[in-house]
C-alpha cells in the first residue's frame, strides 16, 4: 500500500486531534461492549439454565434459609425426581480482593443434579469420601495457583472463624456460561460446626417434565403457605432472571446509554474529520492537479477515516475483552462467566464500520467533487 505514508502523514498533522478522536472512539466502543456484556451475561444466565431444574427458596427473602425437614417433603411432591440443597458460605480468602462464590452442598445429590460440572471420576470419589474436601472450578485454580491436595483456609463472614478445606477435585464447566469460579464443599462440614445456625439456603429439584413446572411450583408453595417458612418455587431460569431483575431493567438502560454514547462520539468524530478536510481544500486541489483522480482522493479519505475508527475500535473492544481476564473480575459464580461474546465484538466492529462511513463519506465526497480551478482561486 504505497499510499499509506500519505494517509499516515495526514493523520499525524494534528497528532493531538487524531489521538483524541481515536480515544473517543475507543471509549465509545469500550463502553458499548462492556454494557452489552452485562446484559448478555444476565441473559445467558437464564438461557443456559436447565428447564427441568427448579429452585425452592424462602418466600420472604432469598437470604433466609429453609428447614432441613423440607427435603423429604419436597421429594414426595408429584413430578419431583430428585432433591438437593445448598447454602451460601460467604468466606473470605487471602486479601479478599477476588470475590468468588462458595457453596456448602449435599455432595452426592448436588453433583448428580448438575452434570454440567465435569469432574474426573477418581477426583469425584475422593471428594465424596472426605468431609473437609472441596471441589473448585478451573478458573479459581488459574487465579490462585491451587492444585489437588492443597489445603485452603478461608475466614467465614457469616460463620465465623477459620475454615480449612482440602481440594480434592477440579471441575470443568461443560458450557462456558456455567462459570468456572465456584467453590463447593460438604454441607455436613458446615453443619457439624454450626449446628443450630445452619439449615439449607435453597433446594434444587429435578422434575420429570419441564411442562409440569408451574404445577409443581404451585403444589409446593401451597403446601408450605401456612408454615413458619413459606416458600417461593420457580424454574432455574426464573431464578437466574430474578438476579437480573435485581439490577432493574438493565437491558433497556444499557442499550439506551450505549447507543446514546456511540451516537455522540459519532458526531464528534465526523466533525473532526470534516474540520480536517476543510483545512485541506487547497491540498486536495494540488493532488488532483498532480493527477490523483476523484475516486482516489475519495478512497484516501475513507481509508483515513477507517484507520481512526478501526484503531479506536480495536483499542476499545480489546480493552473490554481483556478487562475481565486481566482483573479477574467476574460475578463470582452468582452468574455464569462474564465475557464479551462474539456477537458483541461483531456488533462493535459493525459500529466502527458505520462510523467510518458516517465520518468519512461527507468529507470524502466533498473532496472528490471539489473543482480544482475554484479551489485554487480561493487560495491565491
Amino acid at each position: 500500500m504505497k499510499f499509506l505514508p500519505l494517509v499516515l502523514a495526514n493523520l499525524k498533522r494534528h497528532m493531538l486531534r487524531t489521538a483524541l478522536t481515536i480515544c473517543s472512539v475507543a471509549l465509545a466502543l469500550f463502553l458499548f461492549a462492556s454494557l452489552r456484556t452485562v446484559s448478555t451475561t444476565l441473559a445467558s444466565g437464564s438461557e443456559v439454565s436447565s428447564a427441568s431444574r427448579m429452585i425452592t427458596q424462602n418466600a420472604t427473602a432469598f437470604v433466609i434459609p429453609l428447614p432441613q425437614s423440607y427435603a423429604t417433603r419436597l421429594g414426595s411432591i408429584p413430578h419431583v425426581q430428585a432433591v438437593t440443597w445448598a447454602n451460601w458460605f460467604g468466606g473470605k480468602y487471602g486479601d479478599g480482593k477476588k470475590f468468588f462464590a462458595q457453596f456448602a452442598v449435599e455432595p452426592e445429590s448436588y453433583l448428580k443434579m448438575y452434570p454440567e460440572f465435569q469432574i474426573p471420576e477418581d477426583q469425584k470419589q475422593a471428594f465424596l469420601k472426605e468431609r473437609s474436601a472441596a471441589i473448585v472450578g478451573e478458573g479459581l485454580v488459574r487465579a490462585f495457583g491451587w492444585k489437588v491436595g492443597d489445603n485452603v483456609t478461608m475466614q467465614g463472614t457469616i460463620f465465623p472463624g477459620d475454615w480449612t478445606f482440602t481440594i480434592r477435585g477440579i471441575y470443568h464447566p461443560s458450557q462456558k456460561e456455567y462459570g468456572d469460579d465456584s467453590f463447593m464443599f460438604h454441607y455436613d462440614y458446615l453443619y457439624e460446626r454450626e449446628r443450630d445456625r445452619v439449615t439449607p439456603g435453597w433446594f434444587i429439584l429435578k422434575i420429570d417434565d419441564p411442562n409440569a413446572a408451574p404445577l409443581v411450583a404451585k403444589t409446593i408453595d401451597d403446601e408450605f403457605r401456612n408454615s413458619s417458612a413459606p416458600t417461593k418455587t420457580g424454574t432455574e431460569k426464573a431464578f437466574a432472571a430474578g438476579f437480573a431483575s435485581m439490577w432493574g431493567n438493565v437491558n433497556l438502560l444499557m442499550s439506551t446509554i450505549g447507543m446514546a454514547v456511540v451516537f455522540a462520539i459519532l458526531l464528534v468524530t465526523a466533525n473532526a474529520m470534516m474540520m480536517n478536510q476543510r483545512e485541506r481544500t487547497s491540498e486536495v486541489a494540488v493532488m488532483k492537479t498532480v493527477g490523483f483522480s476523484d475516486a482516489r482522493v475519495f478512497g484516501l479519505i475513507i481509508v483515513e477515516a477507517a484507520l481512526i475508527s478501526m484503531t479506536g475500535a480495536a483499542l476499545g473492544l480489546g480493552g473490554a475483552i481483556l478487562l475481565p481476564i486481566v482483573t479477574g473480575f467476574g460475578t463470582g459464580g452468582f452468574l455464569p462467566g462474564f465475557h464479551v461474546t462474539p456477537g458483541t465484538a461483531l456488533v462493535g466492529g459493525s459500529i466502527a464500520l458505520l462510523l467510518t462511513v458516517a465520518s468519512g463519506i461527507v468529507p470524502a465526497w466533498q473532496a472528490a467533487k471539489l473543482p480544482v480551478v475554484q479551489a485554487l482561486r480561493r487560495v491565491e
Partner: protein, 230 residues
C-alpha cells in the same frame, strides 16, 4: 503538428446572473520544445489558459489538443490519468503538501505509476538533484525557503517526465535571488532536457528568459517574439 493546439476556443464564466467572457475564438499553437512566457494584466485569462491546457477546466466551445490527445473531450478520470503522465504544474504558492517531506512531495506523481519502490526512489533523487536540493530531501516544506519550496515543486513537476510543464507565476512570491535560481532552472530544463514550457509571469526578467513572449489582453493574444533580450 504542434504539441499544444488551441482551436477556436471560447471561454466564459457564469457568475450569478452575469457572464464573464474571457476569450472568443482563441487559436494558437505551442511547439514541442518551446519556452513561452504568457504576460498580461490581471484578469486577462492567463491562468485560465493554463487550466484549459492542463484539463483542469473545460472550454465553453472549441478544442484543446495536447500531444495529439483531445483534452477538452476527456472524462474526469481519463484526465486525471493523462495529467499524471503528461503535465507538470507549478503554482505561485501552496504547491507542496505540508505534511510530506520534500522527497515525499516529489514522489507523489510517481505513486500513480506502476514503478516499483526502488525506481520511484531513484527518480525522486534524480529530480531533486536536478533542482539542486539533494541535501534537503527529508526537510518538510516549512523548513525550506520560498525559493527552495518552488524548486521542490519544479522537481515534482518533472519527476514523471511529462512533455509539458505549466507554471503560473512561479516567481511571484520570491525575492530576486530565488527568482533567478528558479528561472535558471527553467532554462536548463528547456535547453538541456528539451522540456516544453508555458509560464505565466508578470516579471519582465522572467519573460526575458523565454524564447517566446505572448501578451494576453482582453481575450486577444499578441505575439512579441524575442522582444526583450537581456
Amino acid at each position: 503538428m504542434a504539441l499544444v493546439e488551441i482551436r477556436e476556443v471560447d471561454k466564459s464564466f457564469k457568475r450569478e446572473a452575469q457572464t464573464v467572457d474571457v476569450y472568443h475564438g482563441l487559436t494558437i499553437d505551442f511547439e514541442q520544445g518551446s519556452y513561452t512566457a504568457l504576460m498580461g494584466p490581471s484578469g486577462s485569462g492567463k491562468s485560465t489558459l493554463l487550466n484549459l491546457v492542463a484539463g483542469l477546466d473545460k472550454p465553453t466551445r472549441g478544442t484543446v489538443r495536447v500531444n495529439g490527445a483531445e483534452v477538452s473531450a476527456m472524462t474526469a478520470s481519463q484526465l486525471a490519468d493523462w495529467r499524471a503522465r503528461t503535465i507538470g504544474f507549478v503554482f505561485q504558492s501552496y504547491n507542496l503538501l505540508p505534511v510530506l517531506t520534500a522527497r515525499q512531495n516529489v514522489e507523489l506523481p510517481l505513486l500513480l505509476t506502476n514503478l516499483r519502490k526502488a525506481e520511484r526512489a531513484e527518480r525522486t533523487a534524480i529530480a531533486l538533484d536536478v533542482v539542486g536540493l539533494a541535501d534537503r530531501m527529508d526537510h518538510f516544506p516549512r523548513q525550506l525557503s520560498g525559493g527552495q519550496e518552488q524548486r521542490v515543486a519544479i522537481a515534482r513537476a518533472i519527476v514523471a517526465d511529462p512533455v509539458l510543464i505549466l507554471l503560473d507565476e512561479p516567481t511571484g512570491q520570491l525575492d530576486a535571488k530565488s527568482s533567478e535560481e528558479v528561472l535558471d532552472l527553467m532554462r536548463r530544463l528547456n535547453e538541456e532536457f528539451h522540456k516544453t514550457i508555458m509560464m505565466v509571469t508578470h516579471d519582465a526578467r522572467a519573460a526575458a528568459q523565454a524564447r517566446r513572449v505572448l501578451h494576453l489582453e482582453k481575450g486577444v493574444l499578441l505575439e512579441r517574439e524575442e522582444a526583450v533580450v537581456s
